[in-house]
Amino acid sequence: MPVKPLSYYRERYIRHQPSPFCPGCGNGIILNCFARAVDELGLDQDRILCVSGIGCSAWIPSPHFNSDTLHTTHGRALAFATGAKVFNSDLTVVVFTGDGDGAGIGGNHLIHAARRNIDITTILVNNLSYAMTGGQIAPTTLHGSRTITSPYGNPENPFDLCRLVAAAGATYVARWTAYHVVELTRSMEEAIKNRGFSFIEVISPCPTRQRRIFGFRNPIYEVPSRIMEMLVESTYIRGREPKGHYCYAIPRAGVKEALEAVETELGRRDLGAGVRQVDHLRWGTVLRVDCAGPEELDSVKELLGEVPEVERVVGALEGKVELGVFVRERRPEFVESLREVMRRAGGV
């Protein structure tokens, strides 16, 4: 298979560039992955229907993907898509939605579409807030997060969207981030091939809003990379052991003071451990301490426990978001069941 340059995908699948997405927005990356997945599957572009709601993610297909697109009312993409898919089941129907659009106002349609197990692939872009409208709390915003509608910390708790949709009955459920482009592209192929309701949550960088939410004071052109690195640091892939032996030290107050304290302590005990500041989705800006092996890690953990500037020591995977494919099942598909209804009714 000849390797295709990005220009190939742009010319064949993308339109109306440049998009209005902010620099470093995950939406463009997801569009990139989607074009590759469609190309890899060799789908007939004339029979793809992309349906989207209202929000930044809605613009991924509408207008930027070159297929039939239906840009609907806020939260209702899946209901519109259901009507189109039922009436013309030859269509490959893909719904692009956001965490607010899909699990906030659209939550009811999300769980019912999953319950029906209708052959529709839903790609939910989770940027942890209502980005287009200014960065308000979303059903996925972390507890305590500061957004423009939770200036004193988010009092709510987020959904685990994958478990929610799996419980509702989806037969393919996966979660990736916009960093994991190879896994995400393959997952999109699997989702589209799945004859039933497929759901992919993509945790996505949103430099404009997340810069404020996470307090990243860097110059604007550094923020996308900093968020991307945080997504890598804060997630792990199901079934894969973490590379290396490390833990995190949560500073009691300033991260700088904690870093110095830990460095001097490590230096005094000359334990071959490296310490650096990292951003963690769950714990915030903390210290990551990497050790040569498991024994060193145990002794480092003990040592960190005694450093006054360190409030708490956390294990490598603790508080991280699990990525991967959570559900792969076979169950009767909704449109097939409707055809069975038609047969029993003696219809055409």
Partner: protein, 73 residues
């Protein structure tokens, strides 16, 4: 030996520098922030050194702005 050249379309690139990030993290480490500022306050990337053709930058580019071309030896 196949060589590669990286081309960036300044009409599409918003200067997010994700290509620089991924090139230095998983690729040949040749992309770097250039001095050319984009409309939105970012900077165009530039290639310093020999691109190894891994195409990670193409994978992560949100704006379809970067292309790795094979250049005959």
């Amino acid at each position: 030996m196949v060589m590669y050249r990286v081309r960036v379309d300044p009409g599409l690139c918003k200067g997010c520098l994700l290509c620089v990030y991924i090139c230095n993290k998983r690729g040949g480490g040749v992309l770097r922030r250039s001095g050319v500022e984009t409309l939105l306050g970012g900077f165009l990337p530039e290639c310093r050194g020999e691109c190894i053709g891994c195409r990670w930058c193409e994978r992560l580019c949100p704006d379809f702005a970067i292309t790795v071309e094979e250049v005959g030896d």
